[in-house]
Symmetry: C2
Subunit: 266 residues, 2 copies
């Protein structure tokens, strides 16, 4: 049986180089699809491209306009293939209009000196943290097991925008680059936590750096991923949000986004 | 007299919508121009575009191939203009070949709830920190007054990749979006600090979020900017690098990049 995530990120390659995708209502957000599933679909498509070099290293996706529920076309362009990396740009189009743009870097993992400086946040085992539900109007969140170590919305407003949360596909699914891409956008907007409430907000641009190797993803399997996210500055209608995704002691990905928001009373 | 930075970021708008630029040897890096000056030139050009909406909010630039010294063409595309923001993509071309790609978001600053969560690093006044020089082969660095609070290369190798540094254009120049863009790339690759030496490394993709308003930049004037940067994970030929730029207590910009490196002996 196909996992709902795989249904949602499925693409059909067309002879003209375009990938055809369809939004899946299991990953609906308040308006249109969850941005994470759109980004994951891009990575899934590029991984299937016959000329792809290596694995995802970086992805930037710009949400220029709302994606309408229905079909969309991904138009990828290979800009340049170097010895160890490959640069792509892409657009996402609906009815001839560009709704998203972006760029991706794929590449080869070479053995080099290595060290992780970032510190994994302290967290009790996922089994000892209660799973929570999001409201029904956030359909995509039903496809994640979510266990907040700190910064769950059920705790009300907080002076600190940090959320640390155990995340896992529901039902379980082995972690791969598309699912990591989607999880990088699974942190609700930090402004919700500061105000203790849902409010109008949406990602404008999202950048994720993939640190995990295919071997690390395989070793991780379908276990819980520990995510942590925090904002640096809110104001003038925008804020940024930085996140990390950890699999055990392995920093799988770092992720950054700029988010639009309106005051609840605004 | 024109400041050398303004000479370096100068562009000529052509009737076909292309901006024509020329590399400036004062901003040379080890190979080709300093990436920060290329990014700053893009922001400078977009700000001059007759259809620009508001001010820079986000920039992603992908360094796909080395930029050769000489002339280059910036080909900007307005993807979408929303009520409060505007999405752009661009390519940088030399002799018909794309050497860089990228995307930018410009927009309007609206008055909203505001807070800065990030903490400015502790630093003594710039006057009490010694200015340092970089080696001659890093020409661009001569155009910055650089005073390392922590993490200067002259201290040798460090177990912590953090550099905190007072930065200012040399000669002094009022801070604006292009100069902030350039400073966001003025942190040397973090792998140098971990190894205490220069080694082969280069930015693959750079994303900067601009938090500063025009009024904040004007209030800052030509004072020192406090920059801080750190890596999260090194390995497999790449590492990430996150930075902040502060003007007094104002978080002016946050910046992220993915960097390619080779082991010194590799």
């Amino acid at each position: 049986m196909t996992h709902v995530f795989d249904e949602a990120i499925a693409v059909a390659a067309k002879p003209d180089g375009v990938f055809h995708a369809t939004t899946h209502d299991a990953y609906d957000n308040m308006v249109g699809p969850f941005g994470g599933i759109t980004a994951a679909t891009v990575i899934n498509a590029l991984q299937q491209h016959p000329e792809i070099l290596g694995n995802p290293l970086a992805l930037t996706i710009n949400y220029a306009a709302p994606v309408a529920n229905g079909t969309w076309d991904l138009r990828p362009v290979i800009v340049r293939t170097n010895r160890t990396n490959q640069h792509w740009t892409f657009t996402i189009e609906q009815e001839g209009s560009v709704v998203s743009t972006g760029s991706a870097v794929f590449g080869i993992h070479r053995e080099t000196w290595a060290d992780t400086e970032a510190q994994r946040p302290d967290a009790p085992d996922p089994e000892s943290v209660a799973a929570v539900d999001f409201p029904d109007f956030i359909a995509w969140a039903r496809n994640y097991d979510k266990r907040f170590v700190v910064g769950g919305l059920e705790d009300g407003k907080s002076e600190d925008s940090t959320s640390t949360v155990w995340l896992r596909d529901l039902p379980e699914r082995p972690l791969d680059y598309p699912s990591l891409t989607s999880m990088a956008d699974a942190f609700f907007p930090r402004v919700f936590l500061r105000h203790g409430t849902y409010m109008p907000a949406g990602t404008i641009t999202l950048t994720t750096y993939f640190h995990a190797t295919p071997d690390e993803l395989a070793a991780h399997g379908s276990g819980h991923v520990l995510g942590t996210a925090r904002a640096a500055r809110f104001g003038n209608g925008h804020f940024d949000q930085d996140g990390q995704l950890w699999g055990g002691d392995v920093l799988l990905a770092t992720t950054h986004q700029l988010v639009y928001f309106k005051d609840p009373q605004g």
